[in-house]
Symmetry: C2
Subunit: 339 residues, 2 copies
């Protein structure tokens, strides 16, 4: 099986975007009516999926995508806790409908209703609700302020109630910021990668997995800058008198393969090794373009992995085994499907 | 010749740190007396240099280090424009004294008196003063707020007066932030690398070198995350309808070799190529530790380059030629020394 751990529903129908526009206007005090979500017919959703994610699964040869709402659309900085609760519920319900329509092709990961209020209780409630709906994980935004890092570092006890709930429910989190609120930080070209890097360093500084040995985190986009600067991080861990990266972090931290060229993927595998890497492509589409150097899409990341000389065990780990291990509810779901 | 383009004077005598402490207290309103800088004897400075930077030049086999004040010490977020002007002048004068003591071993790069006021005029004046003292370049902080990105992106006309002055004086800038003011952003493990990445993306978004075709910028720490995510950046450039990275940026942007392991250096050279890479080690010392995997210091970056199969031209470019090209005043200085 080939499991893509990093897919976003970025082909939402126009009605969905129109609703969000009204919701943001309400949040900004530009309209007085609490907006209501429109009816969207199954046939509309089917069309958006079949022409896009399902087509690409077929063309690129993957079997199942772990699907979550558009990351840049989470917008935790917009509005208060109520707005965020409404928006997360709506966004996650859309994922649940798609997963129910195509149970063999998708598994759900939910957006959490974090907000600038800092209250995590709505996130815990929504996570429970989504797990009841069959979701297998969540996306955790380490910086709900969109580039200003208003929340505490990820190892801070502030986050513990969420991690307790995740461990209780046996769901991992992908660390994933939303859109940038800074003109200096391009969303997909700087803010995403920088957040990955910042959180990896926070994990070195803290001892999160001492407190939560069963917690699993996926740092996407190939771990930000971490593998490229692995020597820096190994050295900083020594200077900070922390254990080695392997001992301290790499039983609990996993990177995906959303690195859009062969040299980058080669580095990731050389430095980190297949036990900590999950196949992912970020479809669709942080980078929607054909690479003129290869003639294929930048985000067709399976090609880069196929070009590695992985043995059977390594290949199985990256494409399937690690995902089943990191997402136990996905494994249970697949087993119930006889896969 | 082997020129290290990235050295900081991080072995300052205790009197210097004690002064800065008094200056910060004054800036924070905790003391009323404008602090005066102490006399520091040449012999004191000599000792700090000979036991450290000069010893390491000898041990590691480099000939000249481009030396600037401690980057994390610049602290542009501290105090007003007057404090920053005083602190930059003092810090740069120390570099000038060291360069004058060891003209064959060092060339100076200055700190600029940027501040949260945003006024660039003091930076222009200090740059002129330092060039008169023989400095060959400057360190430009793209984020004087220490992690909150209060200044405009690097391609914004806000910065143009500084770039005009740099081109006029024929000095390049190394893009280098100072210490982080955010608990989420470790200074050397996140803020430095993230700033490099953010500025590279800003350069893709803008057209700075269309306005300043002769401007040269060095992005340190191996270009942040950029080489590892080169496919992402090539793709984003296409999506933003910008020219290719080579055409748009790589006549003006250079990366150093402050990447502290072989796999990272291999990636840098594979992706970027020797014409855009300057040897650098960041001595001393973002990462002061022995790598247990190699038995050598993480920041002994010459070893990683020596292990590459560079031809003579590539090796010369990285160790000497590119530095002479990017820092024309260094080249003139070396020629005047008969080198």
């Amino acid at each position: 099986m080939i499991i893509d751990c990093h897919g976003h529903y970025t082909t939402e129908p126009p009605e969905h975007h129109a609703f969000r526009k009204r919701q943001v206007e309400f949040a900004e005090g530009k309209s007085e009516a609490w907006p209501l979500y429109p009816e969207i017919d199954d046939s509309v959703l089917r069309a958006t999926i079949e022409q896009n994610q399902l087509r690409l699964q077929r063309e690129r040869g993957s079997d199942l995508t772990i699907l979550s709402p558009r990351a840049s659309g989470m917008g935790h900085h917009v509005g208060d806790a109520d707005i965020n609760a409404d928006w997360s519920r709506i966004s996650n319900d859309l994922i649940a409908r798609i997963v129910d329509m195509y149970p063999a092709n998708f598994a759900g990961v939910c957006q959490l209703p974090q907000s600038l209020s800092g209250d995590l209780k709505p996130a815990l409630a929504e996570l429970e609700r989504c797990v009841d709906l069959g979701f297998v994980g969540c996306n955790l935004n380490p910086d709900p302020s969109g580039g200003f890092w208003s929340a505490p570092p990820i190892h801070d006890p502030y986050w513990y109630p969420l991690f307790e709930k995740m461990v209780e429910l046996q769901v991992p989190a992908m660390i994933h910021v939303s859109s940038s609120c800074s003109a200096c930080l391009h969303t997909t070209g700087a803010h995403y990668i920088n957040a990955d890097t910042a959180v990896f360093m926070q994990l070195i500084q803290g001892d999160l997995f001492g407190a939560f040995p069963d917690l699993k985190l996926i740092i996407p986009h190939g771990g930000g800058a971490a593998p490229y600067h692995w020597g820096r991080y190994r050295g900083l861990a020594m200077m900070l008198e922390r254990p080695s990266l392997g001992e301290h972090l790499m039983r609990n931290v996993f990177f995906d393969t959303c690195v859009y060229h062969q040299a980058g993927i080669d580095t990731l595998f050389r430095v980190v090794g297949p036990d900590n890497i999950l196949f992912g492509s970020e479809l669709l589409g942080a980078v929607k373009a054909l690479d003129p150097e290869t003639g294929f899409s930048f985000d067709d990341t399976r090609r880069y992995i196929d070009a590695l000389s992985l043995d059977g065990a390594g290949r199985h780990a990256v494409f399937e085994g690690n995902a089943r291990k990191v997402y136990p509810r996905l494994d249970a779901r697949l087993k119930a499907q006889g896969r």
